[in-house]
């Protein structure tokens, strides 16, 4: 045996020439392994599996014809996209395979973009260039961005679309929350157009807080704002009793009087006067305070809007003198408030006060007992106010407004993983990190300043989605792809009408020329749309136009003169440039037109599915009631509306009928026709 080994060795390596020959053969074998390995690539395996999958299907032949072997890629140089996902995800465009195979053979759900327009990783993240499962989907040293979990996928829409989209409710909700929950006060969020996102939560100034409420209430509130109002947007700063005591001491101490005039409190009905309370409740209701303020009803359900604070326990909070003046004219206390100046009579103020002061919660302040503040407590309180960043949101005497209090989140969606310190045991991904930060900020260290928010899982997901949309890609995208948010407008109406609109805070709810809220209709073209007589009447005594809506414009108790000034201004200034409102005179219609229009209204277009024209017959609750539309709207507006409502009011629920001129004219004639007098008067 040994002899044979020796002789074999001699044959193979006996001389240097022999060794050279032997080694050359070995080397060739080893080098042959290299191209051989190309045939073991993962994607080849998937392509073979796909062919097996479609082999016995009835549409197998056409599927096989569309199948292309080899590496497939979407190459978009201007976007930096090289996506080879389709190498394994073969059936992305084969709708017939929906629900058939396992991944990677499922088709892509329908989306507004073409699949080859942006590639895959623009939305899904992951490594597009990779052709192995591991490298494509998971985070590695050479690729930090793993696949984005499907539940945050809307964030990718937000990288280009800054304008709200109807198809991305989660992203929209998250963005609204960033502004509403005060995130953007501490964290800067800058759009690629260098605009800073502003808060929508309107934190109240605290410079005169002692006139508004008591130190005990402040103590209880800052300890746990959600105990006072479940909808409170102020987060819980997890203050100790001592810290809350000292902060409340400082806040009361720094407060100054807000008016030098003596406040006359109108007579307020006694708390046991049930009739007066009922009357106050009616006044509260008729003034449509609930359009902005929510309140828990007897069943514990929250009813009302969220523009103003919740009033469920308001009686335990405010001082009567403050409340009286606030209801009379809120601007005395807070010149920047969003609440309108209602022209209430003293009697009504008393009634509303009586109603509001009955809304108390004896438990809320039951355990709060504070002794008089000492100077050292006040000093400590001020220090805490500075440390906790109270002045980031609130105006406080003696504490400067704090800028850039927390890290800038403009590009948090592309935060490199290497810069993140994860908690032990948590998945090392960006969404998990952001979610954990939002859910429990102090779990990353007790010294962290970020307060605790009370959020549902869905809300956290929405916030994570909105934050993931904040990537640095915004700056590198071709400008043509970006859909920036509308330029914020500083529009200010002029003259006396302008003053009035300011006083009435029209912009809190209405948008005009790009400025204002979205609770009520855009009024930019209102002058083209409505008739003057109706407008004056409506301003004096608003009624609801939509049967399904519980909110409507509050009654401001305007004088005739004020209503006329406003109506004149609106009719003169707020006109669409597209057409003339007097283009079509109502008198030109014949009764034949109207009859034809009626047929079309109930027949061809079935307008009665959504609109009520005859309250006894029609059951449409989607659109506004049309009983008095002939008195409210101009014929030209109706005509244009029927032809293309979206052009007049983008986003309107009205279908785009694309009606021909004759049909539109006939229906306009029918709608402009005087109807039988309505059952109810225009005013309530």
């Amino acid at each position: 045996m040994r002899e044979r080994i020796r002789s074999a060795y001699h044959t193979l390596f006996g001389a240097s020439a022999r060794a050279f020959g032997t080694l050359s053969v070995v080397l060739l074998v080893v080098l042959a392994v290299v191209p051989a390995r190309d045939h073991l690539r993962e994607w080849l395996h998937y392509q073979n599996e796909y062919l097996n999958l479609i082999r016995n299907r009835s549409d197998g032949l056409s599927l096989a014809r569309r199948f292309q072997g080899g590496v497939q890629q979407i190459w978009l140089p201007e976007l930096g996209v090289v996506d080879r996902c389709a190498t394994c995800h073969i059936a992305l465009k084969e709708a017939s395979l929906a629900g058939v195979g396992p991944q990677p053979f499922l088709p892509h759900p329908p989306i507004p973009h073409s699949l080859t327009e942006f590639g895959c990783v623009m939305c899904h993240r992951g490594q597009g260039a990779a052709t192995t499962v591991e490298e494509a989907h998971r985070s590695t040293l050479a690729w930090e961005q793993p696949i984005l979990p499907a539940r945050y996928i809307e964030s990718s829409c937000g990288e280009c679309h800054e304008r709200p989209l109807t198809g991305t409710p989660q992203l929209g909700a998250g963005r609204a929350m960033l502004a509403r929950y005060g995130c953007v006060h501490c964290h800067k969020l800058t759009s690629p157009e260098s605009r800073t996102v502003a808060g929508t939560d309107d934190p109240p100034p605290l410079k005169h807080i002692a006139a508004k409420t008591t130190r005990e209430w402040i103590f209880a509130w800052i300890k746990n704002p959600q105990a006072y109002a479940a909808t409170a947007t102020m987060p819980n700063f997890q203050l100790s009793d001592d810290d809350a005591r000292d902060i409340s001491a400082f806040l009361i101490g720094q407060s100054t009087p807000y008016t030098t005039e003596a406040i006359k409190v109108p007579p307020v009905p006694a708390t046991d006067d049930a009739a007066a309370l009922q009357q106050g409740s009616s006044t509260y209701g008729e003034s449509f305070c609930a359009s902005c303020h929510a309140m828990q009803n007897a069943a514990g359900l929250l009813v009302g809007g969220d523009l103003g604070p919740e009033l469920t326990r308001i009686g335990s909070k405010v001082r009567p003198e403050w409340l009286a003046e606030w209801i009379r004219d809120p601007k005395t206390y807070d010149p920047d408030t969003r609440m309108p100046h209602f022209r209430f009579e003293a009697k009504d103020i008393g009634l509303i006060m009586g109603f509001l002061e009955s809304k108390t919660d004896s438990d809320f302040l039951a355990n709060v007992h504070l002794s008089a503040a000492t100077p050292s407590q006040i000093t400590h309180g001020k220090q805490l106010v500075v440390e906790r960043g109270c002045a980031v949101c609130h105006d406080i005497n003696g504490v400067a407004h704090q800028e850039n209090f927390a890290p800038d989140l403009t590009a948090v969606g592309s935060l490199p993983l290497s810069k993140i310190i994860f908690l032990p045991g948590m998945p090392h991904t960006l969404p998990d990190y952001i979610a954990a930060k939002i859910r429990k900020p102090r779990s990353f260290g007790n010294a962290l300043k970020m307060p605790q928010f009370t959020l549902s899982d869905a809300q956290v997901d929405a916030l994570v989605t909105a934050l993931l949309a904040q990537t640095s890609r915004g700056k590198t995208l071709p400008p043509a792809l970006r859909i920036p948010a509308p330029e914020p407008s500083t529009y200010q109406p002029a003259g006396r009408a302008g003053q009035l609109m300011n006083d009435l805070r029209c912009f809190s709810c209405h948008t005009i020329n790009g400025r204002g809220g979205d609770m009520a209709p855009d009024l930019s073209w209102e002058g083209t749309s409505v008739q003057r007589s109706w407008l004056v009447k409506f301003l004096k005594a608003p009624n609801t136009l939509r049967p399904a809506l519980i909110r409507r414009m509050p009654k401001f108790n305007l004088s005739d003169e004020e209503a006329n000034v406003l109506a004149d201004y609106i009719l003169t200034v707020y006109q669409t440039p597209a057409f003339d409102r007097d283009q079509i005179g109502a008198s030109k219609f014949t009764s034949g037109d109207a009859a034809h229009g009626k047929d079309l209204y109930y027949g061809k277009y079935a307008c009665n599915s959504c609109h009520i024209l005859d309250p006894n017959k029609d059951k449409g609750y989607i659109g506004p009631t049309l009983t008095q539309v002939g008195l409210r709207l101009n014929a030209a507006w109706i005509f244009r509306w029927l032809k293309n409502a979206q052009a007049l009011r983008p986003g309107s629920l009205e279908l785009n009928w694309n009606m021909n001129d004759d049909d539109a004219r006939a229906i306009t004639a029918f709608l402009m026709q005087p109807k039988a007098p309505p059952q109810q008067g225009a005013s309530k």
Binding site: S16, L23, R37, L141, W143, S418
Partner: protein, 234 residues
């Protein structure tokens, strides 16, 4: 043929001793030239094949390594994001380690320049060529000088807290001194040490220090160039 010969005939194939070869063919002898010289081999084919075999073994080893271990690749270069630590290629890590101790002019410029110059001039100094055992002459004076020099170097290194250089330096000097006084019945190792020339000691010192610094820089330096264990280095 009556005149006396002024030459002697002999046979030799050593080209250096007898550059001109004249062969006398007499009746009793036949021409004989040594065709082989066992001390030499022909470059072609023996040397070429050997070189090829060595190269093939190397290529084979590298190919196998390349089949099983992938070359490192990290994320796209991002000037805004500094990795911690940022490391130079491994053969410069000894230098980077020096930079940790010394100001850049010393660690980054002076020392490497001196090293390169020293390497270049090696064959031009008699001491490197004679290669006389360090301890063979003037032993006591050399011991004194050595201790003085090493003490100065040690103070310098301690000043900059360069323990990673100081410790091997002291160890090598100790080893040198072990060879300085070989007794009659000293072991072979000690006699071997005794015969080593100064250049040997300096080069060994350089090699060991450079290796240690490179190893520390490669395997024992983590974030902030702090000392860590090899398994904690990313």
């Amino acid at each position: 043929m009556t005149e006396p010969k002024d030459f002697t005939a002999s046979m030799d194939s050593d080209s250096r001793r007898t550059p001109v070869r004249v062969a006398f063919v007499t009746r009793r002898t036949s021409p004989q030239v040594r065709t082989r010289d066992d001390r030499y081999v022909m470059t072609y084919p023996e040397v070429l094949f050997r070189a090829a075999v060595a190269s093939e073994i190397l290529l084979l080893a590298l190919a196998l390594v390349s089949l099983f271990w992938n070359a490192p690749l990290e994320g796209l270069a991002d000037p805004m994001q500094t990795p911690n630590p940022a490391k130079a290629p491994w053969y410069f890590l000894g230098l980077q380690e020096l930079l940790h101790y010394f100001p850049p002019v010393v660690g980054g410029v002076l020392i490497p320049t001196l090293v390169v110059l020293a390497l270049i001039v090696i064959p031009y100094f008699g001491i490197n060529i004679e290669a006389e055992g360090f301890w063979i002459r003037n032993r006591d004076a050399k011991v004194r000088t050595l201790i003085l020099v090493v003490a100065l170097v040690a103070v310098f290194l301690s000043w900059f807290k360069v323990w990673a250089v100081l410790i091997p330096t002291v160890a090598i000097v100790a080893l040198t001194l072990v060879g300085a006084f070989p007794s009659a019945h000293a072991g072979a190792f000690r006699r071997w040490l005794h015969l080593k020339p100064l250049p040997f000691w300096i080069m060994s010192w350089f090699l060991i220090v450079a290796t240690i610094l490179t190893l520390i820089g490669t395997f024992f330096r983590g974030a902030g160039w702090a000392l860590v264990w090899p398994w904690e280095v990313d």
